[in-house]
Amino acid sequence: MSSEREHASPVTWDSGIAIKPVYGPGDAPKSVDGDGEPGEFPYTRGIHPLMYRKRPWTIRQYSGFGTAAETHERFLYLIKHGNTGLNVAFDLPTQCGLDSDDAMADGEVGRVGMAVDTLADMEEAFDGIDLNQITVSLTINGAAVPIMAMYFAMADKRGFPLRELRGTAQNDILKEFIGRGTWIFPVEPSLRLVGDTIEFCAREVPHYSPVSVCGYHIRESGATPAQEMAYGLAIACAYVEHVRARGLDVDEFAQGISFNFDIFGNLWEQVAKFRAGRRLWAKIMKERYAAKNARAMQLRMIAGGGGGGLTVEQPLNNLVRSAYYALASALSGTQTMALCSYDEAYTIPSEQAARLSLRTMQILMHEVGACDTVDPLAGSYFVEATTSEMEAKIRAIMGNLDAEGGIVRAIADGRAQADVNRQAYERQRRIDRGEIKRVGVNCFADDEAEPDVEFHPYRREKADEQVARLGKVRATRDAAKVAQTLDALTRAAREGRNVMPAAMDAVKAYASVGEVCGALKTVFGTYKEPVRF
């Protein structure tokens, strides 16, 4: 029998872990005994003692397009159909810190997300939504300072005390330099601005999570699952070290750092990645940074079905893929889940596609038993063995990053980007050669023409409306107050003070995203890409 096992065709995960055909008691690592119960250090089995038996994961579909009014309508639709949180998509000009009337914004206003220029837009988008019931995640990075300031100002004006406000900003600028690309300022001042938001929230908005560190986009850009976790944890360490250097204790702020990871491909590899990642993050926080607060050691995450697995070809296959990704996410103990919709490989999801994503998660939650018990795969010889192997892989990658000067330097000189790009290229070549199977693409492909797909219409008149709206705000606001608050913001940036209080004053005076970022650019300059291959 054993010789038969030796002759089984080899299986190796993307992360470089060779998989045996059969696992047994001899494979289960001894360290499992040290894993403790769910809700106990090192949280391999989950960060809460009862996990979904107490509260199922939050369903937080990514959405937003056009104007604040249109996005508000979609938000209400998603809430009506069972979204328990919101995840805001901003358009590219907003994400890049450009106003809707900037020449570079032409043709992009409201196209891939909601256009936000001033506080007026933020107020309209969340009008009537109870921010205590629906927590909001802001997918904003380069322009996090004005957008977070606007969100806080909006909540404050509506009577939600900042000291009780919950929610998340993505605000992970380091990963934007590797993938996704909505950077504005150079690497060092960008890191400082993230530090300002973390410090501000630790003091003023203590239940808010100012950063969601994204392995997600690094994986989407070409990294393996082990690298995704390693880069994510390394970036989180960079933020922790930056804020500690300001004299804050990790127990004061590290609970505000959450994570965002990607799910596609091999189910078991994702499970091992998350269980290992939780264990390793807890150990790093405790051993390296002397955390004592349990919340500072817990890896809280949104783990969503990623776009990298979806295909334009045979788009309905994406529904099936997404269901498996959702299962992987639930089996991995995520706190929040989102799924790319089946049409998201080529367009903003239709209402029908967005609803199907919601239903996929609800069926898993209410019909299939995914919430029945905590960490159901624990104790499996295979899952425990691969969790430990994954932890060793992640550690090794992080060790290499440290040995080569750390993640911030690797990003600043373009090495991290070049590594990920090279892998993306090798992966694409393997797909083109059929070595990585993509059902409906390089195997089981149809000769018949693809079914017609429904594209989200782009309405030019809505962009014009947005530009007109911005013009009206500019014409009616107190210009002297705008100039004075922007000047104060510039001084805070130049003198090394936390920019958030001044940014709050500026957005309350209806300074725009472009004006706030412009003021910061006069001090920090703009990022120049080190394009390396």
Binding site: L92, M104, G107, R111, E176, R180, V312, Y346, N421, F533
Partner: protein, 142 residues
Amino acid sequence: MTTSSGAVGVAEPIRVLVAKPGVDGHDVGAKLICRALMEAGMSVVYTGLRQSPEAIATAARDHCADVVGLSIMSGAHLPLCEKVAASLKQAGMDHAKLIVGGVIPARDHDALAKLGASAVFGVSATLDEIVKWVEHNGRRTS
């Protein structure tokens, strides 16, 4: 910007500029194509992100590009192509073949052709298809 020269001792390599117009930051695909064209021996420059039409035309002229490839994922391919084509013309670079890749619905292919695109490569295009097209069509005939 990065340049990779083609093999020595053979015909002059085809010169390609790969550009990201507009504000879309997704450039995994653009970089894959750069690498594939470089491996095929072409001389390739990648502009990096967030390039204005004028900057793309200037980069195309500086590189003496035979082919200008635009990568667009955001859906803004029609307005962006129109502007880049106009800038190329203004820079005296309208002899360069303009090709477009990204998330582009089939129904927009004709409109892109009218704007001056010689070829459009959607998400399903393989790297080899793109390399072959450039090898066969990229060289200046004049």
